[in-house]
Point group: C2
Chain length 206, copies 2
């Protein structure tokens, strides 16, 4: 199909599609003349994925490109690929200095108290440190009890996720990378809605 038909099929403007082509998020079509190219269903699927990462998940073009690059060229090590995916997602954190023996002491203590294996250079450790500091600054520090309550439920969710990882290596990477990006907004929306449900049942407001 031509770019105009691709626009109709995806509900995007031709200008937006050209922008994603220029930015390298969408692979080029097959050239049919000096000024025209032909696109297929793979382009439609890719554009839907781009839109979901930028529109619904809320990633920047640069973050979406980093995630799509990992899906396209995952490398051999699933563990390292997951690490790169997490680095590409918000919140953006500074990597630790190489010579700092204990760059994220609060996150380390929290993870030790949960008994969790972790790589101190994994971006989520810095993200946890930053999140714990923000809770302190808001006057709502995360107690050991709250950490343990949250941690147990999120570990259940992680077990569920890993139990359903596809066997095929390429599919596993896609599941890991996209699942980190795409399921997080579901989890946040569900938590907000669970608050509403519990509050309503207890007769708070309304």
């Amino acid at each position: 199909m031509r770019i105009s038909a691709l626009a109709t099929a995806t509900g995007l403007s031709v200008a937006t599609i050209k922008f994603y082509l220029r930015e390298g998020l969408l692979h080029p079509g097959v050239a049919t003349s000096a000024t025209q190219a032909s696109y297929d269903d793979a382009h439609v699927r890719r554009l839907r994925l781009i839109r979901s990462l930028i529109g619904s998940v809320g990633l920047s073009v640069q973050q979406a490109r980093a995630i799509l690059d990992l899906v396209d060229e995952p490398g051999d090590d699933l563990y390292a690929t997951l690490g790169r995916a997490v680095s590409a997602l918000p919140p953006t954190v500074e990597p630790p200095r190489d010579d700092d023996p204990d760059p994220f002491p609060r996150a380390r203590e929290a993870l030790e108290s949960l008994g969790q294996v972790f790589d101190p250079r994994f971006a989520a450790v810095a993200q946890l440190e930053s999140a714990l500091a923000a809770a302190d600054a808001a006057g709502m520090p995360i107690s050991a009890e709250r950490l343990s309550a949250y941690g147990a439920r999120l570990r259940d969710i992680a077990q569920y996720d890993l139990d359903r990882m596809p066997d095929d290596p390429h599919a596993a990477v896609e599941y890991t990378v996209l699942g980190t990006a795409v399921y997080e907004p579901v989890i946040l929306a569900l938590r907000r809605l669970a608050h509403q449900d519990v509050a309503a049942r207890r007769g708070l407001g309304r």
Copy 2:
């Protein structure tokens, strides 16, 4: 203290503090002359809170102001205040049209299957609809089983949160509004780290 001492106490530049004063996030100091004002510990605490909302939680200045306005002027209805807080937080979603009897059918079905009470105009319903659509577009639709697995754990977390809500009405609003904003990054970081823990124990990579 003068603004220069406030800058030293918070690690922020005088220009940044003046910006937050202009934007109305920080309340003015007590004028001591035509060009100087005096600030106190309440300003230090407020600046730490502003920094945590903008820096760690990743809110825009506009979103942080909306959250701070709710903490400052919460109104009487805790339920409605929580609704406004959720509307102010990302992801930004369009409110439903008044004449649309079923604007978010997938979210409605999901919440009905979880047996949860919900207000269809609560922003998190639109956020859930958008998140479910993004998962579809990524080729990773949320199954009924996954929804139920996530939903049960997030409801446990919501129960925990509500059980610890302060009795004092002002403190309860602060807990509700700031807790929604500040605890979410903790939850996302913990989920990412739980994935790493479970993956490492199963010998994936490393």
